[in-house]
Structures are given as C-alpha cells and as structure tokens.
C-alpha cells in the first residue's frame, strides 16, 4: 500500500518536472482536436457494439464443468478400471473426477519385474497383483479432471512415458508442457463490488488456485500374481 503510494508519487514528480508533453499535444486548431476526439469515441463504441460479431471458434474451448474430485479416489476403483479389458481412454464416464489418459499392455519376459520410477512425488504409483493376467502387465495413468481459468486441462496433460525393456519398467515424465493463454479482463475494480461476477478473471475463473501439478495423478500397474517385483528406489504401493 505504502509502496504503491510512493510509486504513484514518484510518477507524479517525474511528470511534474517533465511537464508530460505527450498529453499536451499542440494543435493549430482546436477543431481538429474536437473532431479527432469524437472520431475516436465513435470507433470505441463501434468496437464494443460489433464485438459479438467475432466468431467464438477461435477462442479456447471453454471447460464443461464436470464433477471435480474432492479427495483422492479409492485405489480399488482405479485398479478395477486399469484391469478392464479395453481401457476407456479419455472417457468421462468414469467415476466423478477421474480421467484415464493412457493405457498400455506389455508382455513380460521374466519372473522378476524391475521398477525404475522417479520419486518426484508427482504421481502415486499403485501396483496390483491380479490372477487374471499371465505374462502381461497393464499400465494405465489417471488424472483427476482439472479445469482452471475456464480451460479444461484434463485431456491436455501429457501422461508420463512408460516403457518395458529387459523386464525393467521405466516411468519417465512426459515432455515439458507449456500452455500460454490470454484472458481479457474487465475493469480492474469490478471484483470489489458485490455481485461483481464480471470482475477480475483471476478470482472469477479460478486460476488463482492453479496447482503446478495440475491436480492428482496416478499410475496403475496390474501385474500377474506370481510376478516378483524389484522396487529398487521407487516408492510404490503394492496391493
């Protein structure tokens, strides 16, 4: 607050000394000024009036508000989903807030599975031993549906790379992702007032609670019951 006042004061002092010539355009005729000012106002008015003519197709797709996950889902549900015959990738027919963004099947070549999963805390790794599988591993990644700033990020988030080689299952983070968006906000003061829904997009659109991990992510591995697992340094929950 105080620093803001100081900043304003400094600006004003600079202006005082400089006399701010930019604002004091010298004219040879006042009529020119009046006409140009009027023309500018008309242009502004037209720009507002004709704004609805801009097709919305170019804009970022607005999020369809789907149910949000309030707490971590029950792992059992995830395992059941991961084990299903044909994983419904990208389907939203999952229980509230869960979205599967990858599903893979690997063929095992040995009796021991080595895990190489970075412990960066970005995702939970769940392993379930199932008797329905023989010589195969099913790997599925899940995220909680995530929307912010009116954008549905759920499907945009790249799943981690999962690969199996020489009986070593490696999980690598996906390629770094960068999203840039532009948002047109309304008055800088709108949010101050009651019912100021049209105020700052920051609060209104909810991207003040952006999390860097884009919500909750999980990797589910379904492995044969008799498989030996060498966890290595990885932190996994084996069910």
């Amino acid at each position: 607050m105080v620093s803001l006042i100081l900043l304003v004061l400094i600006i004003f002092l600079v202006l005082l000394s400089a006399k701010a010539a930019i604002f004091r355009v010298k004219l040879t005729s006042w009529k020119t000024g009046a006409v140009l000012a009027g023309v500018y106002l008309v242009i502004l008015l037209l720009s507002v009036l004709f704004l609805p003519l801009l097709p919305s197709g170019k804009l970022a797709e607005p999020a369809v508000h789907s149910a949000q996950l309030t707490s971590s889902p029950d792992p059992k549900v995830l395992f059941r989903l991961a084990a299903e015959e044909s994983p419904g990738l990208g389907t939203k027919a999952y229980p509230a807030g869960i979205y599967q963004n990858s599903g893979q099947e690997f063929t095992l070549e040995g009796a021991t599975l080595h895990l190489k999963i970075p412990n960066n805390g970005n995702y939970i790794v769940l392993v379930e031993k199932s008797d329905k599988l023989a010589g195969k591993i099913k790997a599925a990644t899940f995220v909680s549906t995530y929307e912010s700033a009116g954008i549905d990020f759920t499907a945009r988030i790249a799943p981690p790379f999962i690969s199996l080689q020489n009986n070593t299952l490696t999980v690598e983070p996906g390629l770094p992702q960068r999203f840039t968006f532009k948002v047109a906000e309304n008055s800088p003061f709108g949010s101050q007032f009651k019912g100021g829904k049209t105020g700052r997009a920051m609060e209104e659109l909810g991207y003040s609670n952006f999390s860097s991990t884009m919500g909750w992510q999980a990797i589910c591995l379904v492995v044969p019951k008799d498989l030996k697992i060498d966890k290595g340094n990885s932190f996994v929950i084996v069910q």
Partner: protein, 303 residues
C-alpha cells in the same frame, strides 16, 4: 462619473516588512470617458497600479474603487475591464480568428468587423496562431483587441512596445477615432509622454509608486518654465519657488526650471535684466519631476 478612485492606495510585494513597496499612498480620481495617460519611468509602479485596477492584484493599503466596487477578484469589474499588455497570451490552439471570436463572446460591445478590418490593415494573417507572432505583431494584435472590445474601462500597458513607428501612429489614430465614436475610459501607460500626449485628456505622472502630477494634459505645457541667465538674477526671480531642475553653464550662468506662476509683468521685467524664459517640453518636465535632483551630470561631477 468616477470610474477609478484611489485613496492612499498602497501595494507591497512579498512580506509586509522588508517587502518591495511598489505603490505608496496614491490618491486620485479618474473620470468616465476620458483618455488618461499613466506616465512614469520603468519600475515606477505603472503596471502594478494597472493590475490592481484590473483586479489582478490586491491592494495592501488604502482604498481602490473601480466602477464603485473593490476591483480585486470582482467579476463585475472584470467584465467591464480589459487589460492589454505585452504578455497578454492566448491558448496555443487558437488562431487569431478564434481569439477574435472568443473576445466577442466575452465582451458584448466587441466590434468584430472593426477588429477584422484592423487586422487586415495591419496585414495580420488571421489563420495564424497567436504564439507564432513576432513581438511587434503580437502587440498589434493585442491592441486591436483592446480597441475593438469597447470595454467601458480599457487599460493599455505600454501597448506599443515592439511596434514599429508607423504602426504606432496608426494604432494611436485608430484608438482615437474609435474613442470618438465610442467614448469610454481608457488608461494608457507609457514611459514616454510625448508619444501619447496628444491623445490624452488627463495625465497621471507617478514616480517610485507615488503620485507626482495629476492634471489635464493641456495644462502641462504651462506647468513649468525655464529661466536662463545670470545666476544672481535668475536666483532672485526663482526665490522661494520649487526648483524642478538646475543646470549650471558658462560663467555665472544658470538654468532653472520652476513652477510657472509668474505674472507677465514680472517676467517682462526679468527679461530686461537678461533672464530668458524658455518653455519646457512635456517630456523634459516629466523627466525633471521623476528624476533624481541632480541629473546625470551629478554622476560625472563626483568623479
């Protein structure tokens, strides 16, 4: 009718003590529909006085009435008064034509036709902007506004500074002709009386903020007389009179300027004794009245 009335008028600049006293104890009356000359040297307080009359400055002592009101910050006085001076400025975005139009809005008596005709005569380009004018042209334009506005009280502060002499003459002639058609009170300040003398009805001569002389201009030529001749005889004649100027020349000869109230017989008698009488030019009289007593010669005498 009295337009301007001052009683013991004073004006200090700056702090009350140690400030500059620009006007001290001026008392005078200016009547309606006269052209009055405000004469004085540079720094005599002419501009200060005019600015007080125009309502720009507030007197610090005494009383001042313009149109029977205190002029300072008075809208009614302002509406009837126009102060024309060198530094009269107008907005940059206005052409001369714009300014004339504005003046016409403010002053009901404004004669737009006259203003345009005068501007044309003085070959002013009305499409030009005011601040692009040269000093002399600016003075001319301001003077045109002063004439054409027909303000009941028009104050000209050294209006001809920067004008060349032919424009000066034309301006004074225009002012006079317009004054005859539209009589009003005009105060004309100048440091040079001879330039405006013929135009004036009254003259107010001030020096160092105080009044020296206030009388009809016609009386000025007879106000004082110069006596030249042998020091003894001249001295005898001038005894007991106020000596306005004194100059010694030749051997035992002297030149005195004194107030003229001699009987013709006295002068005739003095003439026989070798005392010559010399009329005093009005400019010289002003100089004598406002100058330091010894004149420039004193400076050299000391060395």
């Amino acid at each position: 009718m009295i337009v301007v009335e001052a009683k013991k008028l004073g004006k200090n600049y700056g702090r009350v003590k140690g400030g500059v006293q620009a006007i001290r104890g001026l008392s005078f009356i200016m009547e309606e529909n006269k052209i009055i000359g405000l004469i004085g040297r540079n720094g005599a307080g002419k501009t200060t006085l005019l600015k007080m009359i125009a309502g720009y400055l507030r007197p610090t002592g005494g009383m001042l009435r313009v149109f029977e009101r205190e002029p300072f910050n008075d809208l009614t006085v302002s509406a009837k008064t126009l102060f024309v001076d060198d530094s009269m400025t107008f907005p940059l975005s206005f052409t001369l034509a714009d300014i004339l139009r504005e003046a016409a809005r403010f002053f009901p008596g404004f004669d737009a036709k006259l203003a345009e005709a005068l501007a044309e005569y003085f070959s002013l380009n009305l499409k030009k902007s005011h601040h692009h004018l040269s000093k002399g042209t600016k003075s001319t334009f301001n003077a045109i506004i002063g004439i054409a506005s027909h303000c009941p009280l028009t104050l000209f502060d050294e209006p001809t500074s920067g004008m060349d002499s032919s424009v000066r003459k034309d301006f004074y002639r225009a002012l006079l002709k317009d004054y005859i058609q539209h009589p009003r009170t005009i105060i004309l300040s100048s440091h040079l009386l001879s330039e405006v003398e013929e135009l004036l009805e009254d003259i107010l001569l001030i020096h160092a903020g105080a009044e020296c002389l206030h009388l009809p201009v016609a009386d000025l030529k007879e106000y004082a007389i110069g006596l030249r001749g042998p020091a003894r005889n001249v001295g005898e004649l001038a005894q007991g009179r106020e000596i306005l100027h004194r100059e010694e020349f030749g051997q035992g000869n002297i030149y005195l300027v004194v107030k003229k109230n001699f009987s013709p017989e006295r002068l005739e008698e003095a003439r026989t004794r070798g005392v010559e009488t010399v009329p005093i030019a009005t400019d010289d009289l002003c100089n004598y009245l406002t100058g330091s007593k010894g004149g420039i010669d004193d400076v050299f005498r000391r060395n």
